[in-house]
């Protein structure tokens, strides 16, 4: 469909190009063939690296004998077990908590994105950087920070601000929703910022010219941002339902079981029950049908292509003085909750030599990190893994986002479901699935030994990151009009050059954001790393976890603080590099001017 449209657009090419015109039908035909081949390759890669490992793992729920994990070739007993006892309670908790967290993430993330992108909010340039820091933190870190603050005999108690009510509130379902919701804010921020970047001033102007007030103009704009909003809701839900960091810390300590913890417990038990974990995985996958159904219903039959060569630069709205105060206070409160508290938890944990028994500060843990051999190798390795993974993922994620943004067909719906289902599956499912799928005896017979190689680890990182990446990019990609590339093509540019000159400038900012998102997610990724890392080459997360879970809690916290600092420096380098090196025109798209 798209290719035929492209052909129709280009057929009346400029006169004086007879030879080129003669070549059009053949060129269009070969482009069609190339596109088909590209799609086939894309689907093959998805099938091999996302579908196969997930399917291998999930198949164990009904056929444990498939990978020698039980005696039965077919059974429903494991699926039945998930509807009973603690598992059923945990799955139910996961569902409602994830819905609430997704809504919380949108309610906070949307206004923050709008304030940063469209208003004169003081310090707005720091807002995006802060979001990367929120994303950089593994979810267990904020959870530990909050726990340290409010738990009995915690910091609030020691400084005389003890409040059993606050302790009870945070150490319970509310606290779990709060933490998962705070973690969802950056996803909303990224999706909505990308959507706002493609939304020129002309729509708002049109509404205002026709007499609409600010509220009415907002009502016009909100539906245009629907793909970004629904994308944010879906990704918030899937990320929350698959989170393990909060499930294993605050939720666990609050005796509030979540599905991912139950799944991990089944795998960590000895002997591990992969079939029971797979059965829970099925429920988590089924759960993502909920946001997808809502999304499909809301967006059905509409087009959101608003970004073209004529998109106008947006005028930044000047906030009134009271408006500025409220906006700064709101954004500040968000960062206090999302960064201040966990930052305090991590830094204080790393500065206390006696597991938090006193307030005496020491640098002993940092000295241990610097003096102990082999602590920086994992950090450097993770930087490399993150860079490679992010680069590959962004390319794949952009392609996937393009497919998702096209007219809905069975294939795009399947892709949509597959990608979101993959987000909902905890990483440990990917990890175990990769072992089942890529460590078959026949592969060793063929001389292909991928298990515990850097190659398979990076492939797994890419596969685990791509679904989120594609969801974040789809908001921006769905706004692209074909005219952007057509214009370049009409002026004689080749396919790649047309994309680079016509499309890349329009999406460069979302692509940089998506790259950073993947980099941050990979840098301290733990479950996949634990199961798949190449012996002798541990990533940072494995090294940190070794210290945190055993005797060297303070050293582990010091390593975490250093790792987050290094990753943040990497983010600053990328964002600074984009600002310095990207052509001005690239940065202008999605930019604003003073109102």
């Amino acid at each position: 469909m798209t290719d035929q449209t492209d052909f129709a657009v280009r057929a009346p090419a400029s006169p004086g190009r007879g030879q080129r015109r003669l070549a059009w039908p053949a060129t269009a035909g070969s482009r069609l063939a190339s596109a088909r081949l590209g799609k086939t390759v894309f689907w093959l890669l998805l099938s091999f690296f996302i579908l196969a490992p997930c399917a291998s793992f999930l198949a164990l729920a009904v056929a444990p004998r498939l990978f020698s994990q039980g005696a039965q070739w077919f059974t429903l007993s494991y699926l039945r077990q998930t509807f009973t006892g603690v598992t059923a309670l945990a799955i139910t908790n996961s569902l409602w908590v994830s819905c609430a967290a997704a809504a919380f993430g949108l309610a906070v993330g949307f206004p923050v994105a709008w304030l940063a992108a469209r208003t004169s909010l003081p310090g707005r340039r720091l807002v995006a950087g802060g979001m990367w820091l929120v994303l950089l933190l593994p979810s267990w870190l904020p959870a530990l920070g909050w726990q340290r603050l409010v738990q009995p005999d915690g910091v609030l108690y020691r400084i005389g601000l003890s409040s059993p009510f606050i302790t009870h509130l945070i150490m319970g379902p509310f606290g779990v929703v709060l933490l998962l919701g705070l973690r969802s804010v950056p996803f909303t921020f990224l999706a909505v910022t990308a959507g706002l970047a493609g939304l020129g001033q002309e729509f708002e102007d049109a509404a205002r010219v026709h007499g609409a007030g600010r509220l009415a103009a907002l009502r016009l704009i909100m539906p245009i941002l629907a793909p970004a909003i629904w994308s944010a809701l879906a990704i918030n839900f899937a990320e929350s339902v698959s989170d393990f960091g909060v499930a294993a810390t605050l939720a666990y300590s609050s005796n509030f079981p979540l599905g991912t913890y139950q799944l991990y417990a089944a795998i960590n038990n000895f002997p591990p029950s992969f079939p029971a974990a797979a059965a829970m995985g099925w429920l988590l996958v089924a759960a993502v049908a909920l946001p997808l159904a809502l999304q499909a219903r809301a967006l059905r039959g509409r087009s959101y292509e608003v970004l073209s060569g004529r998109s106008r630069q947006v005028v930044r709205r000047q906030l009134t003085r009271p408006g500025t105060v409220v906006a700064v206070a709101g954004v500040g409160l968000f960062y206090l909750c999302a960064l201040g508290v966990p930052g305090f938890g991590a830094v204080s944990g790393s500065l206390l030599g006696d597991l938090g028994g006193s307030f005496s500060l020491t640098l002993a843990n940092y000295r241990a990190v610097f003096h102990e051999g082999g602590q920086f190798g994992p950090l450097a390795r993770s930087l490399g893994y993150g860079t490679i993974t992010a680069t590959i993922t962004v390319i794949g994620g952009f392609v996937a986002a393009r497919f998702l943004a096209q007219r809905k067909t069975k294939a795009t719906r399947l892709l949509d479901f597959m990608l979101l289902a993959a987000v909902a599956l905890p990483s440990v499912v990917f990890g175990a699935g990769y072992i089942f799928a890529y460590n078959l005896p026949i592969m060793s017979t063929l001389g292909i030994n991928l298990y515990q190689t850097v190659l398979l680890l990076v492939i797994a990182y890419v596969a685990a990151s791509l679904p989120t990446n594609a969801r974040v990019l789809v908001g921006a990609v769905s706004q692209l009009q074909p005219s952007l590339k057509d214009a370049a093509r009409a002026h004689g540019a080749g396919e790649l050059a047309a994309w680079a000159r016509g499309v890349l400038p329009a999406v460069s900012r979302p692509i940089v954001m998506a790259w950073l998102l993947t980099f941050c997610g990979t840098f301290l990724e733990l479950p996949l790393s634990q199961l798949l890392y190449a012996p002798n080459d541990p990533p940072a997360s494995v090294s940190i976890n070794d210290n945190l879970s055993t005797y060297h809690f303070g050293v582990g916290m010091a390593q975490s603080v250093l790792a987050v600092g290094i990753a943040l420096a990497a983010v600053a380098v990328v964002l600074g590099g984009y600002r310095l090196l990207a052509p001005e025109g690239w940065r202008r798209i999605g930019g604003t001017v003073r109102g």
Binding site: S34, L355, G357, G447, T550, H552, F553
Partner: protein, 353 residues
Amino acid sequence: MIWTKTHKNLRVVAALAGLGALALAGCTSSAASDQASGAKAKVPLVVYSAQGYDKAMVAAFTKATGIPVKLDDNSTGPLLTQIEASKNNPNWGLLWVDGSTAFAGLDQQGLLVKGYEPSVSFNSLGAKNIPPDKSYVPTGVTLAGAMVYDRTKVTAPPTSWAQITGSQWKGAIGTNDPTQSGPTYPFIAGMMNYLGGVSAGEKFFTRLKANGLVINPTNGPTLQALTTGQIKLAFVQSSAGVGAALGDKKLVVKYLDPVTMLPSCIGIDAKAPAAEQAEAKKFAAFVLSAQGQKVMQSGDPTGDSLYYPVVDGIAPLPALPPLTGVQVQFIDPYKWGSQEAALNTWFVSNVIH
């Protein structure tokens, strides 16, 4: 024209696939050729270990023997998950973790080499932990369920297991989650063994829960709960408790009678190539040698090095409380190992939640 272009694309894809295959072959060829060369060449020994001193040991072993080692240094849980998930085509050569129940489970699945015992003189702790079929080798002993408390806050600690269910300890006792902490299942199994069986043990833990037992995931968070005052008594692995006491002089480690042995063990992959198995046996023998024991005692001085040796002639580190006068209990790993999954599930459902 279309087909020509398509064929060109196909050729490009085929060439890329070929390059990929070559790359794969390249990244795996060394392993394949190593396997093909059999027992004569020194193949890399893949060591799965959760010991704090494993890096130091691997370096010393390679230096002494010239055998290259690939170390997967991880928590016990992920290591056992990897072994179970890859049991059709295992990649490991040697496993070195705490807790003989896991080794008994692997042995019952036929995953371990049987009949190997290093030629060293085991002391009484070591001798008790050698299985009848010699499918794994004990390398040291720590104790499961060691009691840790702050002497400035607890002046009259309990002296028996029965006392800890008393009302004076309501909400004051903490331990770990057996599904996340390897040393905790032996503690649970040990209590059940001491009390006369599963049923009596379940009643004991149910009473503890009713008395406000606090569960944290692993040793570290449980000890943190102790030092921050959330709990008054922590029941953790002895090496974790003694290590914490080295850093915080207010902490005291005591053993209630009986305390359960938690041996660290080495097992060798039954499906590994013969050359790798031979190297794994050399590794186990090296660990138990005087040189190896020196590395074990110095590689993680505030953590796993705090163990009770299992070979004659090696004294425990001075920080460890003496075992004289303490009843140290041995539990049959084959009896209790086979019940691990079921009892852990019971514990999670009835004590944690």
